[in-house]
């Protein structure tokens, strides 16, 4: 039996015991105070009654000169169309992999989706509804944003896509997905890859991470077409391989051991990258595997009992060729540091990774070939964190797990000064890619 299983079984009773107490004597006083307070009238909650598209629509007011407005609007439409054609014909979009120019940062706050400009600090609301939106991620070409919307009172989620300017919001899932655990754009920009627990598996799982996951590719255009690519025990994410996205990297449980695997993007030709040898309860193993910028290598953190790697346990950062050869430890130290969670810069030159080397714990950066110094950057942290690179590789957007201030950090990969973004968010990280031209 694993430790998480024991926790699962014992925590409810122990927490109930810890929380047991007499009826709180202050409650009646508080209730008495509310009796003297006014409620917000129901009409003050329009978002709770109106659909998003209605709630965000500006209502016309008063009697207007429609003829003049119509003529002006027609002129404006023609001008806008001409402008759009002119601009559109010249428009360039970034490649799905590699360096790009920095755009806006999508984020979720209080259940709605916003876009923030890291240069000016300006923010704007992108999606608002009575339900809870999260997981905003810009498309590889930077023109659209995918996000998830929870179905209230259920374990289900709908996936949506909206234009980066707020245009054409549409649901891409015909019916809600139960137990959605991960989502991301396919490099072609025409599909969303969604991983969800298969119905009925959650209750059979001894830990929260070993359920049977299913990978679906869902058309982003709203047609509702879904291709089920694979159903895998322990599947919790996939990574598309640069430069073409033709391969998928994923971890899986095989006979209760974690292994790292590749398959073609259509689910065929499964190949072993790292054989399954790590016990299932070492769930951080392979939890953040990532391709190198050219797709030839894979970085991953793994539990190890080999003391020669430094601190036995979880985890150390390794690298392996995508064909499974030349597996070796990536970070050259034996100090007992906890290393892992590698994220490769879009220009392919750097790897940002978690480096828990006392007394400093946080994000560190090293060259992608493993040479050179380990550069610690950003604040020391009380807990773990997650991060992504700016599309131009000039900075790292990091969000500390736990509460903190609810603000992401912008870190200097060279170890210089860092700052927080001016908005608070729920912690999902993404950064719009724009053409370098």
């Amino acid at each position: 039996m694993t430790t998480p299983t024991r926790l699962d079984h014992t925590l409810p009773a122990i927490l109930s015991d810890l929380a047991t107490g007499p009826y709180p004597d202050y409650v009646d006083d508080a209730i008495g105070r509310t009796s003297r307070m006014r409620q917000r009238p129901a009409w003050a909650f329009p978002e709770r009654w109106l659909r998003m598209d209605i709630a965000t629509r500006v209502a016309p007011a008063g009697r207007l000169p429609w003829r003049q407005i119509g003529v002006l609007a027609l002129i404006a439409v023609l001008l806008a169309a001409a402008l759009a054609v002119a601009v559109g014909s010249q428009r360039r979009v970034p490649n799905p992999f590699g360096p790009a120019a920095n755009g806006l940062i999508p984020y979720a706050s209080n259940g709605d989706i916003y876009l923030g400009d890291p240069l000016t600090g300006a923010t704007r609301l992108l999606v608002q509804s009575p339900e809870t939106e999260s997981g905003a991620e810009t498309s590889p070409d930077g023109t659209r944003v995918a996000f998830a919307r929870s179905v209230a009172g259920t374990t289900q989620t709908d996936a949506f896509v909206v234009g980066i300017e707020g245009s054409s919001p549409h649901k891409i899932t015909l019916k809600p997905i139960d137990h959605l655990t991960w989502g991301g754009w396919a490099p072609d920009g025409r599909h969303l890859a969604l991983v969800h627990d298969v119905d009925g598996s959650a209750g059979q799982c001894p830990t929260t991470i070993c359920t049977v996951g299913q990978l679906d590719l869902v058309d982003a255009d709203g047609s509702g077409h879904i291709d089920t690519i694979a159903t895998v025990r322990g599947l919790s994410y996939v990574q598309f391989s640069p430069p073409d996205g033709h391969r998928l990297l994923y971890r899986a449980l095989v006979e209760d051991k974690w292994g790292l695997f590749e398959m073609d993007a259509d689910g065929r030709n499964v190949r072993t990258v790292v054989p399954p040898t790590v016990p299932a309860d070492m769930g951080a193993t392979f939890a953040s595997a990532a391709y190198s910028a050219d797709g030839s290598r894979v970085f991953f953190n793994q539990y190890t009992l080999d003391a020669s790697y430094g601190q036995p346990g979880c985890c150390q950062l390794f690298v392996v060729n995508a064909d499974g050869t030349d597996l070796h430890k990536f970070i050259p130290n034996t100090s007992g540091a906890w290393d892992g969670a590698a994220v490769v810069s879009p220009d392919g030159k750097w790897v940002a990774f978690w480096h828990n080397d006392k007394p400093a714990h946080g994000v560190s950066v090293i060259r992608a070939d493993g040479t050179g110094p380990i550069v610690e950057t950003g604040p020391s942290l009380t807990g773990t964190a997650h991060w992504i690179w700016a599309p131009d590789s000039s900075s790292i957007l990091m969000f500390p797990d736990g509460t903190y201030s609810g603000k992401a950090y912008l870190l200097d990969p060279a170890g210089g000064t860092y700052k927080t973004v001016p908005w608070t968010s729920s912690g999902d990280l993404d950064w719009q890619r724009r053409s370098l031209d």
Partner: protein, 186 residues
């Protein structure tokens, strides 16, 4: 009278109905707040704030059947807001590894109420909120995600980390009873 009928009445301004609703939930909310904040006085403040917000905003509650989940959400948010306001400094505290290899003593240690109590103190309020929502209030993880406004995957990973940190805190309890410097909100 069933809860939904009481909620409907409270939405229409019936204060007696509101009082009946929150009295039924008070012990549960107080317990959850004490678990999250680890401070009875702060928990009291959080629950009082919750009740005020609940009375003020209940007309906007669209689904009366979701009253409990809504009240839990208000409570957790009040706890986290209070925690943030109380925080003196947020960084420079030692991190413990997520998955230590030694787990053999957990079976006996976790059975000890005091050890779990101490272990909870090592979690940040956000981590405690997830543990409390899931294990104390019995929320499915998807509902925890909705309540906290974070993705399900994030909830799972944070819960996994929280359980790992609790385990390590339990294991290292004799060494960690000294005050945490520059620390987290406890």
């Amino acid at each position: 009278m069933d809860q939904q009928a009481l909620v409907e009445r409270a939405k229409r301004g019936d204060h007696d109905a509101f009082a009946e609703l929150v009295r039924a939930a008070a012990t549960r909310l107080d317990g959850a707040a004490r678990l999250i904040l680890r401070d009875p006085e702060l928990a009291r403040d959080a629950v009082q704030e919750t009740l005020i917000r609940a009375w003020r905003d209940i007309p906007g509650l669209r689904d009366p059947g979701r009253f409990d989940a809504w009240l839990h959400r208000l409570t957790v948010n009040a706890c986290l807001d209070l925690g943030r306001r109380r925080r003196r400094r947020v960084i420079e505290v030692e991190l413990t590894p997520i998955d230590a290899p030694v787990i053999s003593d957990m079976t006996n240690t976790l059975a000890d109420r005091e050890a779990v109590d101490a272990a909870m103190r090592h979690l940040d309020p956000g981590g405690r909120a997830i543990v409390v929502l899931h294990y104390f209030l019995g929320m499915p993880l998807t509902e925890v995600a909705a309540t906290l406004g974070i993705p399900l995957g994030t909830v799972k990973s944070r819960l996994h980390r929280a359980l790992g940190e609790m385990r390590i805190a339990v294991e290292t309890e004799p060494d960690t009873r000294a005050p945490v410097t520059g620390g987290q909100v406890a």
